[in-house]
Amino acid sequence: MKLPLSWLKEFVPGDLDPGVLTERLSMAGLEVEAVERLKPAFSDVVVAKVLRVERHPNAERLSVCEVDGGGAGRLNVVCGAPNVRAGMTSALAVVGARLAAEKNAGDQACGPALEAAVIRGVRSEGMLCSERELGLFDDHRGIVALPDDAPVGQSLADYLELDDCVFDVAVTPNRGDCLSILGLAREVAALLGRKLSPARTKRIRSVKRAAENSIAPIAIEITAPDLCPRYAALPMAKIAISDSPLWLRRRLKACGMRPVNNVVDVTNYLMLEIGQPLHAFDLDRLRQHRVIVRRAGEDRELETLDHVKRPLLKDDLVIADGEGPVAIAGVMGGLTSEVDNSTTRILLESAFFDPPSVTRTSRRLGLVSEASYRFERGVDRQGQIAALYRAAQLLSEVARGCEAGAVIDVEPQPQPIRQVEFSTKLITGLLGAAIPAGEAARRLRALGIKVKRTGKDSLEAVIPSFRADLREGADLAEEVARLTGLADIPTLPCRPSAEVGGEDQRRELLRAIGERLSACGLSEIKSLAFTAPEENRTFGRLQGTGPVKVTNPLSAELSELRQSLICGLVAALRFNLRREAQACHLFELGKVFYREHDELREGLRVAALSYGELAFRGLGERGRRADLFTLKGMIEGCLDTLGLVDKAEFVRLPGELAPYLHPGTATDVRLKTGGLLGRLGELHPELALTLEVDYPVAVCELDVGELITYGSLRKPVAPPPRFPAVRRDLALLLDRDFPAAQVRSVIAQADASLLESVELFDVYEGGSLPAGKKSVAVTCRYRAKDRTLTDQEVNLLHATVTSFAIERLGAVPR
């Protein structure tokens, strides 16, 4: 909401410092986002009266005028404007004046100083100016015409308040009452401890009453009282459509509105000033002279003022005449009943429309007008009639000769008086500040709230009709706190007494996963959760699940939620390869989304992508290139951190289950007790082709939910062993396809309590080995807690283990 200081001063007279205002409003919840200083685009121009106009003796199109410039004296001025006439009040630039640069109206830069000149033999001691010459508006058809009561001799800049300051106030959605100069003035008065001046709202006597027969009776009916509890209207006759006076147009412009004509400008002016949107119908275009406020029902369409045909739903509230809709209530008027230059009689509408109804219709049509913006946020429930009187008064000033009929007021549902009882204990309990009842009452009264003391600590507030946001004690506590900008609330240490539950241990686990992966050389990325359907089809296919679709996506490429983090990692790889990257080692920890059994689910995952050389290289050396095993090592490290390395196993996965992986590398990471932890492999060569990569791209994705459920950072701690271990190697000849890891896990099951560990150290095929066979070698470590083992003991143990391995694995010893 734009708030010109000059307009504000009509309601809060006296000195107002812009800096102080900005500060106080902002602290009280009405943030001033910007302050714009307005300056006139000219200097030394005064209000002047044209006393006499004569034809220029030597030029047909020029006049010679005698002009009264007040303090500037009576001057002789040559003028070329067609509209100059004796008796008119206009703007006179005296000698030495500077005017707006001719080309761009509104430009702040002033032109050269005006000099006295002799024009075709006649001396001219000044210049009567057009609006464009003054940088006000673009009109250059003639000289400025000011109202007759403009004070002759006054500086035009002062008269038009061109030296002004406009505050841009961010009004929060609860404060519909502050979407007007009056509403903001009320706040300013309360904040500064000033009195709110009633301004000119009551001056209606000057309006001429229309004769009974000059306005046909208008019948107004509300058939949707739930959506329109009050509808008031004022017929007016003998309207002459013209431009509004300069001062009024200047104010509209300062508030960001475009002047149209005197009738429309008056409705806009009052909406800005008091917050009540008004609409002017051309009375003679309202068929049957009837107005019906009703649901659209069967009516399907209305062409609005902006020449757009708007579709209607049956529950949209419309204003109809005897034959059909003429306006979308509270949103925009219809084209057929528009006021134009031929209009002589109007019907001014001033209503209260149900805010949610206006919001619904305006949202659906994507049409937010100045009016709908205010109706949505709630206008003064009782402000309709006063707005009509004020409009009539203003029209009588700007459309001279107009006459007003009688106000028609239909209010099927009067609003009951709203009272809120509350105690100072509530205020203290919420604010933590002891504010005495008397002080609380004083602050509330400053805001226009009637307050009664009903006991030592208890108060009763009568909520004014313009404050729909005040409903209960907490709302009033806020008003009390707000008026001093929260200054009287102390700052107390906060030590909650709540016990901390166990749920945040999960954060430690997540942090450990991230730290472990980054220690391996992976950098964390963050991708948007939105992805394209084909990405989900490629990376997200898990049996029995489907994608989550966004109903209103930003684009087709972002129309689903990711089912896998791998699509984001691949996108990041592509992005970085195009930007100088030779290698890419990435991970992401985030949520994935999927549909399962018609329910939407989310899961936390960690995924990694590793491509190109891994660091650990000196000058001129090559680092190891990432592949399945480098990434597997990182996963093993991660599982180790979580105490899961011995509980998990890596299992060959049929390629068709993970079509994005190279079928020879597709791997499941499982818990030995059952349950899938995740997947690992190198990207399918076809995908790799689209990335234009030279080496394998290893990817994996693990379910963090499972890792957290089964993992733990709390490992038992043991002192180092006191006695040495004895190692014995064992080499076995096995079928080529036999998984090497099973050798280790099978031997570990041998019935030998002193067998401390089994480590794989060599796998070998070819050479002297028979075809289709491989040699797998392991080191067995034996150790006793209480003594050094003797050779004989170890030999015996190892013999047992060896025969166990041969038997269980069906292997041949080498």
Partner: protein, 329 residues
């Protein structure tokens, strides 16, 4: 001894030592066979054998020292290295700046006694709006343009759903922070992202035990922990549907120290977070009696804090995943 004399390396010496003195070595065998020597000759022969053993050991030690000295000399004589050559590169990954900032923020709240609880991103209208006192068809909802998923579900527009999710299943006293991703229908740009992260926090206890004064205290402590102990903090009245009274907390601009710059829009203050006393309607929605309980709530945008802290001004940096940016952290 001759073999020893010819030994040119520590390894060769060791071989000789094993051959002679080792288990099953020549001299060891000799000493072991002493049992066969007649008793009266044993002391003399034994003494001799031990003498020989000591000699050999001594000799070995001398030779070893000599070889070591020689090696030392050679090593020292070696040409000096070009120490300006680069060191060997070690793998090093980087934690995303948003993760680092989030962790820092959560650490501060955890140290102040707040429990960290995760909450869902996919929500229903009730938990994201209705229970938080956003009436349907109210312009307050415009502040948050929502992504819908059908069946009445949506992507949460703020982490405030955490208040409802936690209070629904637990009773006061509560002190909780809920971090997580939020979603609003904004194109990714310098200032906005369709996905961003927030941290919601709230504390509830018996009425009057937790007041706006405690909220000021908690937020001041938090902001000083994050921005530095001398940071100036101010509170302004504001509006959020789910708090009453509502406030916003500002910090003295860290770029211009309050003299006015582009970042603080020449106000000298940077808006950091929103907060307030939990609205009675929110308490009612979760079945708490607002006359019996009260509490505060606050919410902060992680990206905003990160941008301020890092002194960068482009939201896209966080989601583009350019390694040239990420590897700086």
């Amino acid at each position: 001894m001759a073999e020893l004399a010819q030994s040119a390396s520590l390894e060769q010496i060791e071989n000789v030592r094993v051959k002679v003195l080792g288990r099953g070595g020549e001299l060891t065998e000799l000493l072991r066979s002493m049992r066969e020597v007649p008793a009266q000759e044993r002391p003399a022969i034994g003494q001799l054998a031990n003498q020989v053993k000591r000699d050999i050991e001594e000799r070995i030690e001398v030779l070893k020292n000599e070889l070591r000295r020689r090696a030392l000399g050679e090593s020292l004589a070696r040409a000096p290295l070009d120490v300006t050559l680069p060191g060997v590169q070690f793998p090093r990954g980087h934690i995303h700046p948003l993760t680092q900032i989030t962790e820092r923020l959560l650490d501060i709240w955890a140290a102040m006694g707040f429990e960290v609880i995760p909450t869902p991103d996919i929500e229903d209208d009730f938990h994201n709006f209705g229970a938080l006192n956003f009436p349907s068809d109210h312009p307050a909802r415009d502040m948050q343009d929502t992504f819908f998923l059908g069946d009445g579900l949506l992507l949460r527009t703020h982490t405030s759903n955490g208040q409802i999710r936690v209070m629904e299943r637990r009773q006061p006293p509560l002190a909780v922070v809920c971090p997580g991703a939020c979603y609003r229908r904004d194109e990714l740009s310098v200032r906005y992202s369709p996905m961003f992260s927030q941290i919601e926090g709230f504390a509830v206890d018996e009425f009057g035990k937790i007041t706006m004064a405690h909220l000021k205290g908690a937020l001041t402590e938090f902001l000083r922990a994050f921005f530095g102990p001398t940071s100036q903090v101010r509170f302004r009245a504001s509006f959020f549907p789910f708090t009453e009274p509502s406030a916003e907390a500002d910090v003295r601009c860290i770029f211009c120290a309050g003299t006015g710059c582009r970042v603080c829009k020449h106000s000298g203050w940077i808006e950091i977070l929103g907060a307030g006393m939990i609205h009675p309607n929110v308490l009612r929605a979760v079945g708490y009696d607002p006359q019996r309980y009260s509490g505060f709530a606050f919410g902060m945008g992680v990206e905003r804090l990160a941008l301020i802290k890092l002194g960068v001004d482009d939201m896209r940096l966080f989601f583009e995943n350019d390694l040239r940016f990420l590897t700086q952290f």
